[in-house]
Amino acid sequence: MSAVGIILTFTFVNNVVLGQLLGVCPILGLPRRPALRLGLMPAAAMPAAALASWAVRRLVLVPLGLESLQLIALCLVLALFVLLPDGGKAGWNLPVTNCAVLGVGLLTAGSGVLGSLVTGLAAGAGYLLAAVVFSGLRERLEMERAPRALHGLPLYLVTAGLMSMAFLAFDRVLLARLAG
């Protein structure tokens, strides 16, 4: 798929969060503000993970014939990252052990370096989009009148579900005609 096609796919047609259902947990649990800044960490981690995945695969696994260990290798990278001295940037753990980040790393399994990078960036953009829109909608929710059982996360899930439904408007037909 062309670069444009990849970008459109991960951002709209099959949005990382709303279509592929990766990274739902963290977005639903995002503290109030600022969504942009908080969403940036996982979003930035995605191209990094994609590239790391490519590098590990290309430089280590394939030469050694160990492709099946990709998950372990990728988790090793993540684990090492978590072990880095914090240096004041506390809170790296959660954004990094985010299923969207790992998911992107796994999704780019077969891609070349450029494909991995573009996919990672596109996924990051899609994640950011979902995070910002969701956080906007969540501010808008006034829980008092909603049925009590729905308060909190269930209502967030329904909100995300409606968002996802709206995004279905972006489908493969549209993608094909736009990206050729």
């Binding site: 808008r140 049925p147 408007a169």
Partner: protein, 305 residues
Amino acid sequence: MTAPGPLAPAPHLHAGTTTRGLMLSVAACLLPAGTWGVLVLGPRALAVLAVAVGASLLTELLIAGLAWKSFTLADGSALLTGLLAGFTLPVSVPLFIPAVAAAFAVAVVKMTFGGLGRNWMNPALGGRLFVTFSWPALLAVGAFPGSVSGGGWVRVPPWQLDGSLLGGSGTLGAVSTLLLALGSVYLLARRIVAWEIPLTFAAGYALTVWALAGLPAGEGLFRGDVPAALGSGGFALAAFYMATDPVTSPQGRAGRLAFGAGCGLLSFLLRAYGGRPEGPFLAVALMNLFVPLLNRLGSPTAGKG
């Protein structure tokens, strides 16, 4: 210091109007176009509308009664939601579709969030979307076998349909647009709906159609057929009655202008490139997602801590 909360729940009523009055006014404004639709499409159109309204009233009755022990039908919003949901559907659908659409609209899109004024997506649109993606084959516009026969009193070939009760290009659609616009003049005059939204919606749509509609067909720029595009009942319904829903549209002027423009742009994109005649409905629903963000456009501190 506590963060200023969101503005009081919409709809923000002006002195002298009640919610019921508002809802009934909008419903009344739909009458001319509705009558025209029934005349052209026959009793089936009436059935679709009736089922939708019935399902919507019943759903709200049940939920409000069971969850809040209250009777909310008197505010007229369920009636309006049912009507609008029915209007968005092609007349050829099996009758369970309007029922499900209306029920979903009321139960999921509106009541789940707390009822009138608390939803962020237009309920009728939510219902329309749900059935669109759940039963795509049943809502395909081409489902009409040839032209309407024995239905209404005017023959309508399938290419005139756009996925809504009110049709697309051709007589059905053009007249519907006119009647819907006429109905909304009253709403605009009484300030019940904001004029910025239909304005930029229509302008954005017309502009993109004119400039870009030729592209998918390989005809180049500035070849779009604007009258055909605007003469669509679905577009008019979306632009005058759904995008303007005060609960689910922005409140500042800048926000509204942007909202309408976004709707117009998306309508074009989804229709021309997405091949979806119900494009305008999808467009408005998508823009609903961005309303909280658009609300910050005009005044950066509105609704923000």
